[in-house]
Amino acid sequence: MANDAAQLTLEDVEDLRALVEAGMQDDARDALLKLAGKFPSLDKQSKVFEEVGILTRDLHNAIKDFAEDDRLRVIANVDMPRASERLTSIISMTGNAANKTLDAVDACQPMVDKLNDSVEKLLPAWSALMHGRIDRDNFVTLCKNVDTLIRDTKKNAAKVSEQLTTILMAQDYQDLTGQMIQKVISLVAEVEDKLLKFLMNFSESEREYLLEKDELQSGIEPHGPALDSIKQSDNIAANQDEVDDLLASLGF
């Protein structure tokens, strides 16, 4: 206070007293603030208090708004459980599609193998026929074998075609899971937006700080498939060639 050149006069105090006695609290407060303005050091302190006051009020409002936000309550009680349900059903739909496709492949493989074997067996006699060096008995056997092959092939071609249709139809999950994933993405974006707005009340750099902290997480913990947004990072091997290069540099 020693630096403050201004003096507090008896008049100032009397004015203040009069306002308080008259019950004019608001005017009394303004007069007090005006008085404080006369003393630079006092004013600096009161500004700090004022800032803290504003911050406290903002924080209070932010928490209140956050707690009373009806949309948030819907998100927590309805949308979030629904999102996990959607994600769970995406796992089961993609799993079913993969299994259907694999079943079809398993069903086709023996037929293709059998076709290949039959042709292999026919080849020597067929080749003899093509060179005109076949006797009657072998010719009759060849004809019988070709007949069987034609019948089997016709029957199996229909079966393979059926399996190909199954494989085709199994891809319908893409459309359905795509729609579900879109819903989850918009929910996540909305929650992110709300949380960000809440955090912005405290610090502009909060997001950068949190992102940085997340990046620093242990390097060998499993992360699952690398996302395109982080694939550019030097730390991620984008494809098999990069993995091979890295291993080669380690003496593999």
């Binding site: 799993g95 694999l102 390097g219 060998i220 730390n235 991620i236 380690l250 593999f252």
Partner: protein, 127 residues
């Protein structure tokens, strides 16, 4: 290469196990068996006469990297070739797997040709 070698496929997703099993069958390997995580695989390896392990990294209970470390620690299994087939592609992870003694590392998604190339490379060294 002996096509009758006994192979253990370790992955928590049954579809991925089926895909690897089918690819191995196409390459002529029919003696394949399956486990859904490291904790299931390790006792199977200790008890059985397996020649080769193909494992994922990210699995519940015991992860692939820990399975690999346990294999290298076991007097019975330490020389067993291990191929890692995984979506994990961080440099630290690949280095960690190399340090733990992995014999091959394939990142998902992968092709049948990649699997064949890595198998050839591994067995070339073991023969």
């Amino acid at each position: 290469m002996d096509k009758n070698i006994k192979i253990l496929i370790v992955d928590d997703f049954s579809t991925m196990r089926r895909i690897i099993k089918n690819l191995l069958r196409d390459l002529g390997f029919n003696n394949t068996h399956e486990a859904d995580d490291g904790a299931t695989a390790l006792p199977m390896l200790e008890a059985g006469d397996f020649d080769f392990v193909v494992t994922d990294w990210n699995m519940p209970i015991m992860q692939g990297i820990d399975l690999l470390k346990n294999i290298r620690k076991s007097p019975k299994l330490k020389a067993m070739p291990v191929l890692m087939v995984t979506a994990e592609a961080k440099r630290e992870q690949i280095v960690e797997a190399a340090k733990a003694g992995v014999n091959g590392y394939i990142v998902k998604p992968f092709t049948a040709a990649t699997l064949k190339a890595k198998l050839d490379k591994i067995f070339e060294r073991f023969e």
